[in-house]
């Protein structure tokens, strides 16, 4: 047995060290593409254990990849160069709400939805709501700076982080930020670490901000006969003094897929629908609902439905939730992108997506968080079909190009990981990327923390095919 494995065993209980092939394969993947066999998967359940593991990895220069529940859509926890997958999901849950401070202290293993559950007991809310919140850990959310529908009004994960505890790639423990809303003491390392995809260290604790829980919500579903009008309607709403908590977009392909899969009463003739959720005081909601209805009618929406009961509203959101399984019925492999554009460019982006679909003859459906320009074009394909996957690779490249051309970005909320690394320089420029790399190199002199992510290898290309 290698020296580093012996060194690990000095402080980590045997049952937390997994070396059998079945276990190693079980930590070889995430919810994106690719499968890479680690040498070992280790579970850490305390800060002390993390420090030990990272110190050993640094000493012996073994790559180490922090992992939550492996729901990442961009390859964040993939052990691309072998080494150690560090599973943090089994760390005992800690959620300490300080209601009077409107903050909460959490361990990295906590499921994101659990934070909101605990906050609600105090009339508070943890707003970031990635659709995987009931599965994903806050540690993973912090590493990837996850978003969600409510990002429109409340912001994404980074907007809710006040302070972090981090084990650096050299095994030292640092605290960043603090527990206050305002804090300008030194560099904002907190924001640097959030979204760094585990390349700067292992987050072992976070202090998060909470906000008052809105007293009520109101759903509105709006139908359009063309996508352009839907795009305009989104901008018009947001410039009329109304900030909905969610504005979700579904194109016709999505609507029809859902209706074929599980009839939910969505309008199959609409070119697009926008599902809006307003939140706030019930009296304010009444006024805002009227306003939105007026805006939609004026701009030429073909229909506006305002559910009268919360059951009806739930039905609409359930239909939205069916998108994922419904489109999986079209073809088994789903390449889910999250290229994001300035809000005014949504109609143009939709045109470009349509052209890409025609050009490469691939199945593309579009849904997403239109209110903040964060679209989810999904390409449905079959990864056993090598020829088709080659076309998909080209289509994905062109989607990234379109987003950048329109002043947008490669990724709104999924992260860069392995898949989007080849396009980084294109968006950031050579110097921009180089400055990031310098930060990375000075934090992690031995390059052990989650190598192969964010920064491309020389000549690296997008690959969705296995061989």
């Amino acid at each position: 047995m290698s020296n580093w494995m012996e060194a690990l065993k000095e402080e980590i209980p045997d049952h937390q060290i997994m070396t059998e092939i079945a276990d190693r394969y079980s930590y070889s993947f995430d919810a994106s593409f690719g499968e890479h066999l680690p040498d070992v998967a280790i579970q850490a359940k305390s800060k002390k254990e993390v420090v030990h593991i990272v110190k050993v990895a640094n000493k012996y220069q073994i790559p180490i990849y922090p992992r939550g529940q492996g729901t990442c859509l961009s390859g964040g926890p993939l052990p691309v160069y072998g080494g150690i997958v560090l599973d943090l999901s089994q760390w005992p849950e800690k959620i300490d709400v300080s209601a009077d401070d409107l903050t909460v202290k959490v361990s990295p293993s906590v499921l994101t939805a659990r934070i909101n559950e605990e906050a609600e007991k105090h009339g508070l809310m943890y707003a970031p709501d990635p659709s995987s919140a009931h599965v994903a850990t806050i540690g993973g959310n912090l590493a990837e700076n996850s978003g969600g529908p409510r990002g429109l009004k409340y912001g994404v994960t980074k907007d809710f982080v006040l302070g972090l505890e981090l084990v650096t790639p050299e095994g030292e423990v640092i605290q960043t930020g603090g527990q206050t809303i305002k804090n300008v003491t030194g560099f904002d390392l907190t924001k640097l670490i959030v979204g760094s995809e585990g390349t700067l260290g292992v987050i072992t604790e976070a202090t998060l901000k909470l906000v008052p829980k809105p007293a009520g919500v109101q759903t509105i579903m709006v139908e359009f006969t063309d996508v352009q009008t839907a795009g305009k309607a989104i901008s018009r709403t947001l410039t009329s003094g109304i900030l909905p908590s969610k504005m979700e977009f579904m194109d016709q392909a999505c609507i029809r897929a859902v209706e074929n899969f599980k009839p939910s009463g969505l309008p199959i003739d609409a070119e697009a629908i926008v599902i809006i959720e307003l939140d706030g005081h019930p009296e304010a909601l009444k006024v805002e609902t009227k306003l939105v209805e007026g805006i939609m009618q004026e701009i030429g929406a073909s229909n506006v439905s305002i559910p009268a009961t919360s059951e009806e509203a739930t039905k609409i959101w359930q239909a939205r939730k069916q998108v994922s399984p419904a489109i999986a019925k079209i073809k088994p492999t789903k390449v889910s992108e999250d290229a994001t554009v300035p809000r005014s460019k949504i109609p143009e982006m939709m045109d470009r997506l349509h052209m890409i679909k025609e050009k490469y003859q691939v199945e593309v459906v579009v849904f997403g968080h239109a209110g903040d320009g964060n679209l989810h074009p999904n390409i449905l394909c079959d990864k056993r079909d090598q020829e088709e996957m080659a076309r998909v690779e080209q289509a994905v490249e062109e989607i990234f190009q379109a987003a950048i051309d329109l002043g947008g970005t490669l990724s709104g909320e999924h992260g860069i990981g392995t898949m989007k690394a080849p396009f980084m320089e294109h968006e950031l420029g050579a110097v921009g990327l180089e400055m990031m790399k310098r930060i990375k190199d000075s934090w992690d002199p031995n390059g052990i923390m989650n190598p192969g992510k964010i920064f491309p290898e020389k000549g690296q290309k997008l690959v969705l095919r296995n061989e």
């Binding site: 997994m18 059998e20 092939i21 079980s26 729901t71 399984p325 999986a328 492999t333």
Partner: protein
Amino acid sequence: MSELQALQQKINYDKTFDCVQCGYCLPACPTYETMERETHSPRGRINLVKMVAEGKASVQDLEKPIEKCLGCMACTTVCPTNVQYGEILEGAKEVIEDHQIKSTSRKKIEDFLFGSFFPSGKWMNTLGNLTWFYQKTGIQALANKSRLTKLAPLHLDKFEQVIPQQPSPKERSKRAKRYKRKRPAHAKVAFFTGCVMDSVFFETNQNTIELLLRFGFEVVLPEQQTCCGALHAHSGKVNESVELAKRNIKAFEEEEIDYIVNNAGGCGARMVEYHHLFEEGTTWRERAEQFVSKVRDISEVLAEVDDLVFNKSVDRTITYQPSCHMTNVQKVKNPPLQLIKDVPGITLKELDRPDFCCGSAGIYNIVNYEDSMDVLDVKMKDVCGTNSESVITTNPGCLLQMKLGIEREGVTHTMDAVHLVDLLLEADPQQK
């Protein structure tokens, strides 16, 4: 066809591609929670099946993760892409059985159970008699005699403690095969007695017949019926399981009936999937589909009846532990709850996590005793938290397991486990 291709077909390689590895199944999986690793999660298992099919891992590597799966199917209910986990699991079990790589102790246990305990060829009454015999002589003693316990601790004594007193073979043989009604019947039903139900819980089966009659059904008990085959299928014994299905299909074709009623969630789940055992376009497939269309859990047919009153108030606080197979495979969720709520005097305290398996899972609690108890301990925490006097279940395996859980928690003096049927009969239902 190459060896790998043959393996791929048998192990349902194609179906593994429906899994997009989103991980939504993780919070629903009891063994992921108790065993704390991805290897023992649905997503991990599906990935391993794929790795085996691609020749990257061996069938041996797959054995433990598959053996440790409860088969509760909670993952299929939460899966956003409708992965056919049941088929993948059974395919994997079949391949493992083919490769004969099961450990000696596991094989011995299975031989014992399938050879002596569950009927592989005999009319199930024989089994009932056997249970009676075992109880008289001691199951554990019998296992000891076969020197099985030397190879694997079977903990059968634990189960023995909670098995109700059995009627003698003579009492069993007194049961009629046909119950006509004087008043016109709502429907004519054939009662599927089940083998564990009919042996270990014979009284509950008698109560089931009584209940069906009181609710206004005509009842027949086709004599040629046999074990549903669920336990065989769960152990990878596919051929035996198909054989049992055929015998049941045939047995129930001989009567003109509206429904085939059972009171065991696990058996019902097996029977509603009989058609999957036969290729499309074949006569057996057609016959199986006919059979499946008539299969109902007893709660489904009872809940449909609306001209009934309960005469007796049952003043008790109870909780309901749904059978996983009833929830996740038969998709029967509401009828039992509706019936419970109809009983006058009942206070129903629902569990925090009713969809979390109790750990019984067919023969899982016998062959994987320690793992099963870990799952049961999680369940019992929830059950005890309701401060209920009774736990209501709808499946013999769950019923035994809950009895075991009550014993383990040391609360036998304040809590018992009861089949839904027995509860309903206690409330003395009569037609209006």
